[in-house]
Symmetry: C2
Subunit: 344 residues, 2 copies
DNA sequence: TTGTATGCGTTATCAT
DNA sequence: ATGATAACGCATACAA
């Protein structure tokens, strides 16, 4: 070992932990400890290292960390469609929160397909993410529990807790109840319902809320008033046409999501019905767009951005070895101009 | 070296390249070579290794690869808002294409803010992505060129090519020209325009197209017919109100994107104007939703998913050391029901 | 064509 | 509290 090495030129190439150690006159381990808060170090060394990090613009290499068994500072996020209008806001909430904490998000899409979701989860694990946030999806609870045994997991859309697994449920059931109550309160006795595909957890819960609220008011649900959609505009359009063609009587329509409500609104217009003069219409999700449809759509609002942010926060808490506080984000009804008192 | 090792238990823990080599009876380097196609190996060894990989379910560790200076098999994607309705489809195109080629996408958001975009680019480089796809944004060309010197870069929204840099431009200018031509052809002489924010590249190009088409038909542009929006519904709404309040005469409105067109349509409706009977309305982007507004919106369509897919393909080509073929995705006008012949 | 040896940047184990 | 040292899993120069 040569005694006198030339004074370290400031960050010629990419600086490493070793270079920081050298410049601060400490061992690499000490630098690592300071970086990770793994152990206490004396104040003076701490200062020297911090100075060196600053001077060399040092940033730990995620790959090296990963290899050495440390944190990768990245969180996997299993979403269903990267361009989902609904979950999109949640992604933003997650991204913002993680970024503020030096974590990077690795987004993958499961396309509402169990097999694909499984593959993506495996990919995330392979990539050694520090934790996984699952936005709803169709994975069986066991799969999540199983994953949670190895990695912190936060999941939305279910009520399922265990050590290492934290869930934030959507208020789907209460959401549709709110909507039905609103319509009932305005004198609508016959409320049609456009459901999402029933193999979809959100769809199931929302339909349940519709039934429950009706039942609680002692109104019997008419099968002829329920049509199936696909959670897209096209499905809402078709479902509405079907409802119209069936000859069933109704003065209001509740769609299981806003996109289907948009489609239904078009079908209604085409058939010569005015909204809300002839038929009242309510959506679910309160997409940003819903305040600007014609007429603006009454819709059930879920604080999706906040849910994403809370999910990310919960993940950080889990990562810190603590238990996140239960998160309950209530749905609320945003009344706009697509609903009015029944004239019948 | 012991002669008889117990028959390798199939993938007890995570299998490594070393384990594959051992099982196949070759050296680790040979396995690596086969994995990367770095050199030719004899057919028999090749087969043995492939068999072992299969049997052990071996998947190379991205972190280790990265550390050793190899590919990370991940591509950074700089988008502006992870939940953008417009670019969302491009993200899907990118994701699909990359996934089919064993690459993972690392999405980051720049929020149309040069500084933030710079930070995100740095983050991507830190994470040792193999290449970066930039969806438009405000980064100066030099920044991209600079990055391209170190990493393959594919960028949308500009016309800028150099070794290691491939660009796919949107057809913004021709897009608005198409829309104006359509309106002109229907007898509309006074066409109002709702522009996006002018510090936004897309907005600038689209406005230019509007001006150019008008000029080419020897119609002089009236400043009073141009209002500024923010590329969101709210901005379109306000801009439309402003246009209405100004007392300017026009029989058609062209909005620089669909979201503003939605807002404009609401403002029009509120003011008692019918679309298209009183005023024709054209949007830009042809978001999936536009086929279902009331009335369905005539809009300029850009094949966004395809652009995303092409960008990803171009990246793969670049990664393979080749030059991607020039990609020209033409815009087209989708005529729906928000436009009709002028009655004046 | 194939194998050996070395290093990538960090964390963890074990000393001290 | 701090330092030396050994992995982590892979790619690659070098040797054969």
């Amino acid at each position: 070992m040569t005694l006198a090495s030339p004074p370290a030129p400031v960050a010629t190439r990419k600086s490493t932990l070793g270079m920081v150690a050298q410049r601060a006159g400490v061992s690499p381990s000490t630098v690592s400890r300071i970086l990770n808060g793994t152990a206490r170090v004396s104040a003076d060394k701490q200062a020297a290292v911090l100075e060196a990090i600053e001077a060399l613009h040092f940033r730990p290499d995620p790959a090296a960390r990963s290899l050495a068994g440390g944190r990768t500072m990245s969180i996997g996020v299993l979403t269903q469609f990267i361009d989902s209008p609904f979950y999109g806001e949640a992604l933003r909430g997650i991204e913002d929160t993680l970024r503020d904490n030096q974590y990077a998000a690795l987004f993958v899409s499961g396309h509402w397909n169990v097999v694909e979701e499984g593959h993506r989860m495996a990919l995330l694990e392979e990539r050694k993410v520090d934790g996984i946030i699952v936005l709803t999806g169709k994975l069986p609870d066991e799969a999540l529990l199983d994953m949670a045994a190895r990695l912190p997991v936060v999941v939305t859309g279910r009520d399922l807790n265990s050590p290492g697994l934290f869930s934030i449920d959507f208020d789907n059931l209460e959401g549709t109840r709110l909507a039905v109550r609103h319509l009932l309160g305005m004198g609508h006795q016959n409320i049609a319902y456009i459901s999402g595909p029933l193999d979809h957890p959100d769809a199931l819960q929302r339909l349940e809320g519709y039934k429950l609220e009706l039942a609680s008011k002692r109104i019997d649900m008419q099968d002829a008033l329920v049509a199936m959609g696909d959670f897209q505009e096209a499905g809402g359009f078709q479902a509405m046409n079907q409802l119209l063609a069936s000859g069933a009587r109704f003065s209001a329509v509740l769609a299981a999501n806003d996109q289907m409500a948009y489609g239904a609104r078009l079908a209604l217009g085409r058939a010569g019905f005015r909204v809300p003069e002839d038929i009242s219409l309510v959506g679910f999700d309160d997409l940003p767009h819903s305040a600007f449809t014609f007429p603006p759509l009454t819709s059930v609002r879920q604080p999706v951005y906040e849910i994403g942010a809370k999910a990310a926060q919960a993940m950080l808490t889990l990562l810190a070895g603590q238990t996140p506080p239960p998160a309950n984000l209530a749905a609320e009804l945003v009344v706009r101009e697509s609903t009015r008192r029944s004239m019948r």
